[in-house]
Symmetry: C2
Subunit: 345 residues, 2 copies
């Protein structure tokens, strides 16, 4: 296919924006012109991509004239202000924020799971929350073969999901880990009143609280999983926890399948050949996924698959992925690639 | 009560042994003579306790002559070799290792839960695993009032449970967190072939693996909980994970109660006045337990109590405690205090 696409990246200077640029080049995405958009503050800066210099432009409605595909990763308010402007001008938007994820008119897509939903797009496609993506990649092959009735997940989430300032907070606190009462200004949520150390700590709060005691991060995991997997009645609950890890989300997941007599061997065999999955499950070799070794990797790593000792239908597993890649940049590009494959773009 | 007891501490130079000495003094435990026992290597060293110098003696069978109560915290093999020798000489042993925990003739005791089991002692009482203790303190008041049919726990365990060398490994790796491929020699299990970094990582292995894919740490949590709570048919599964935290185990726990129409407010009210528990549960104030703030605290902290969105009987909660105190030293001393209260000692 020789067709090339004018491609815009909104939030090009951010952590995910940078990863999107890296991955576009690495995967030889067929971009013609590349428009790197950011806030007025960053406009005029130069970024080198694949040996060529690009100048950052201010993200304005007019900047999307002639754009075929636009990756948004500059925060929910920017997406709310500009995504419709971009799609009005003919671009298909792949939005990495939570702005449109639960909008019934916006497909929420993980290509391994629900690529077909792309055909319902009306100009905007939402990229799910990082912690959701890696889980549904692991659960979809199981659902397809054995059904899925219940999910209970506890997460171990890296700080890079909270941005560069959070990474800096972890790194600088770690370097002085013996020091008591370090300065904390970013985590758990920058805009919240209280901030807590992350080095040598775990914080059971990601995003702000809802009235029911769950955080919005937890609601995202629960609601987005139901939408992506088309399982509105799935019994699902999440507990989302920040841990002192730079990059790589881990998840301890309990599931119940619907079919009888499913074995650990069945599930391992299924996941060994599942799209986007790398099975790392051999206790005799101490082989299991860990965030430290998932950084810069595209795959969703799955291991520690065990039969629940008392529930006929219950299984436990451990799922790890690079939250900036499969959890964000990579999945966004895979959506764009699927749009090309499906001849939507 | 003016009776005083000759008290021995086996493993007096270790992390838990030191905490036992500290807590004996702090809680004014009625010790007459104090015998500090350790390996031959440490014998002869002096330790100051409450302004008085004590000389470490080698732990031999004869060293227990005249001892009323002996706290063992020097590893399973030492307990296996010497606990019966101590009890033969008239001492009651409180053993902090896993050596006798599942022995049907040995009570496994968390005083808030099953103090009455102390009356069945035959010279040895086992102190449960750290991650088990804090969980049963939280679950027992709920079981008593509402019944308990199911537990699914994912842990976030501190490195101090793996000893001083593991603390050093975390601290030194943290100070150079930007460095890739740090030296790792201790975690996850010193005697295992492979070792992985803990700073900037989480490791889903604590202790070695069983054939069913669960680790022994996970089996400890499952079996010990059933024994302590006298619930042999409890549906319980654990996933035990090491996180880069020095001290303080955290647990994300899902439970199902047996009674209908139990509310979050019911459980909060129950736990607010439960023995050994400090309720920290106010999302509007970002109040929830964290390991960083549990260090050196006696309580089991509970927060983030939520109703499961789909299971009529399901609740989620977050439990944190100092694994060296309530998880080890403190619980051992509370066992001894209960032995005095119950006039067994």
């Amino acid at each position: 296919m020789s067709q090339k696409f004018t491609t815009a990246i909104v939030g090009a200077t951010g952590a995910v924006g940078q990863k999107i640029i890296e991955k576009l080049v690495e995967r030889s995405f067929p971009f013609a012109d590349l428009k790197l958009l950011a806030s007025k503050k960053s406009a005029g800066k130069q970024i080198e991509v694949n040996g060529k210099n690009y100048t950052i432009e201010e993200a304005t409605p007019e900047a999307f004239e002639g754009v075929d595909i636009a990756f948004f990763s500059a925060g929910g308010s920017i997406s709310k202000a500009l995504a419709k402007e971009a799609s009005k001008r003919g671009a298909i938007v792949v939005d990495n924020t939570s702005a449109f994820r639960m909008d019934p008119d916006v497909p929420l897509v993980v290509p391994e799971v629900n690529k077909q939903a792309l055909h319902e797009q009306q100009g905007i496609i939402a990229n799910p929350n990082c912690s959701t993506i890696q889980m549904v990649v692991a659960l979809e092959p199981i659902r397809k073969q054995y059904g899925l009735s219940k999910v209970i997940v506890s997460t171990y989430q890296a700080v890079s999901g909270a941005g560069a300032a959070a990474i800096h907070e972890l790194t600088s606190q770690s370097e002085r880990i013996a020091e008591k009462q370090p300065t904390s200004e970013i985590l758990p949520v920058k805009s919240e009143e209280k901030h807590f150390p992350i080095a040598g700590n775990v914080i059971p709060q990601i995003d702000v609280f809802n009235e029911d005691g769950f955080t919005f991060e937890e609601h995202k995991m629960m609601n987005e999983t139901k939408k992506i997997m088309s399982l509105p009645d799935l019994s699902i609950a999440a507990t989302c926890v920040r841990v002192p890890v730079v990059t790589g989300h881990s998840e301890s997941v309990y599931i119940e399948v619907e079919k009888e007599n499913v074995t650990v061997a069945d599930i391992k065999q299924l996941l060994a050949s599942a799209e986007g999955v790398t099975l790392q499950d051999d206790p005799s070799e101490q082989l299991y996924p860990m965030p430290y070794f998932s950084e810069d990797e595209d795959a969703v790593f799955i291991g520690r698959i065990r039969k629940d000792p008392s529930s006929e239908y219950g299984f436990h597993m451990w799922i790890v992925a690079d939250n900036l890649l499969k959890g964000a940049a990579l999945n966004s590009i895979q959506i764009a690639e699927a749009l090309i494959d499906e001849k939507i773009l």
